[in-house]
Amino acid sequence: MPLLDVQDLRVDLPVEAGTLHAVRGIDLSVERGEMLCLVGESGCGKSMTSLALMGLLPRRARLSAGRLDFDGESLTALSERRRGQLRGRRMAMIFQEPMTALNPAYTLGNQLCEAFLRHRLGNRRQARERAIELLERVGISAAAERLAQYPHQLSGGLRQRVMIAMALMCDPDLIIADEPTTALDVTIQAQILRLLRDLQQEMGTAVIFITHDLGVVARIADRVAVMYAGEVIETALTQALYANPSHPYTRGLLSCIPAPGKTPPGSRLQAIPGVVPSLVGEVEGCAFRNRCPLVREGEVDAARCEHTPELRRLTGDHQARCHYAEHRAATRVAQPELSP
């Protein structure tokens, strides 16, 4: 049984122009100890998905799900109080900007120990000991003295390390990390990612790691789910996804970033022209069809793409939401152009 089992998750937000369907029927499952990366461009619903899983959606958002099970228990059936007991204890979250999650008025020690004490996992001394142990584990020197410091006294990279330590305080089963390294310098990012990956493997924690960076995904994920316009459009084991991207959007994403050693410097990059459809009101047919190169180049029957494709199994664990995921021209598109 997977640790987290989500089927047909939907999040609707009332907006002036009607209803914005931020998440439009997502299926996800996360095994214990697994690192799942959710990847997609801005506005595709990554953060709304993570907030829905954590039970932290904005008040006016409406959530529905065919299934939303955590360790065999339905989250939708839980009272707000029971949900609060899970949060921080068995499910923890790391946000992109640690300053939004850290309270500037409290010391790091207070904030690190808060959930541990609230969930009655031990007394103050034990909380303090665990905090020091974890701060050291995330590479923060003079940990005992740090406990008395305030968040603004730390650099962005150190704050993010504190957030990781805080997420680990209660030894959760699942951590959701929403773009935790996006705001950091590449050297610091590499250090934090390495740390997160090591700790995750050592403690057997499952992680849903949200990012828009396909480089990061390649290096840390066990499995990947690619999102577009509120849906998962492709999911596979990491190696399989990069070796054989099957949805035209995934292939587009992989070929629009210059690949050192492969893309000749100064050559034209493959862009994905067009924009994401509005998520206010219903999206008819395949959400990608106004930008899809297979449709544009007349490789496929455009009329069929007016019918919404299902996320369907291609091989083993590899699934894609495209009528033409096996199309031969598909592979051609994947090759980066070698002539300028």
Binding site: S42, I188, Q191, L254
Partner: protein
Amino acid sequence: MNALSSRGALADQAGAGPDTDIDTMPALELCALSKRYTLGGGLFKRGRALQAVSEVSLAIPRGQVMGLVGESGCGKSTLAKMLLGLATPSAGEVRVDGRPLGDAGQKALARHIQPIFQDPYSSLNPRKRVAAIVELPLRVHGIGTPRERAQRVAETLDLVGLPQRAAAQFPGQLSGGQRQRVAIARALIMRPDIVICDEPTSALDVSVQAQILNLLLDLKQEFGLTYLFISHDLAVVEHLVDRVAVMYLGRIVEEGSRKQIFAAPRHPYTQALLASALTPEPGLGVPDIGLGDVMPDPSNPPSGCAFHPRCPKAQALCRESRPTLTAETTGVSRAACHFASA
């Protein structure tokens, strides 16, 4: 595609004149440029000085792209602001075609050097229509009649791949990529020789970034533009630039051709920077880049080589003496390190 074709006429207008040795001279030259901020009063301790940029000397040949990389707060944007006349250097000077900028004055400067900033959301006035935004630099400089200006706006929108109907729209009605095209149009309408790009695509999604990078490359090719290109994304830098300058705590620590820097980096910081770039290759994991993570305080920089507290190669000498950037030699980059790799 003729919006910028009267380049020669414009150069005369701006007083550049037909220089004889203009082609051997770098388009843009920074000579020991420094910027010092004083953090006085308020929240900060009184009278503390912050050396944001220290003695930066760089030359960008005409028609080339110089990449500028380095971590957050190392002084890249401060450098860009000095080139644009938005910050006054504390010392040193900027030369355009061999002439010191100081003499030229703000207005003449704008004709030579134009910026493209990171954020296409905040750098465009939300209450102005695109046509007015793009036209503004011409109006400020009193160039052309209203009809001529409208013509040039139309040509420039075309040049950057915006539909003519965009002229009547407001920035809020455009996508991120379109807004960045507006910003590029606004920079190009002055027909500058030099464009300073400060993270021009870092607020954009990758699918849109590719379009903007293609556009920047096309424009460079077509008009022989010279770029200073600031970015955090090393893959993008490698794709776009001819030369690279690496900055650490206000100083250039390494400078060389694209090939030198990416194939044979000599400075330990450049080496760490390149090692930490995560290319989309599964199975490689996240490398241990072996850097200490004591981030330096720019208002109290470490002694000697400012990188020594994090440097895996540091020796006693590094704490005492600051290495200088080596002079130009053939074949290898210039590096500021006592123990630079060969």
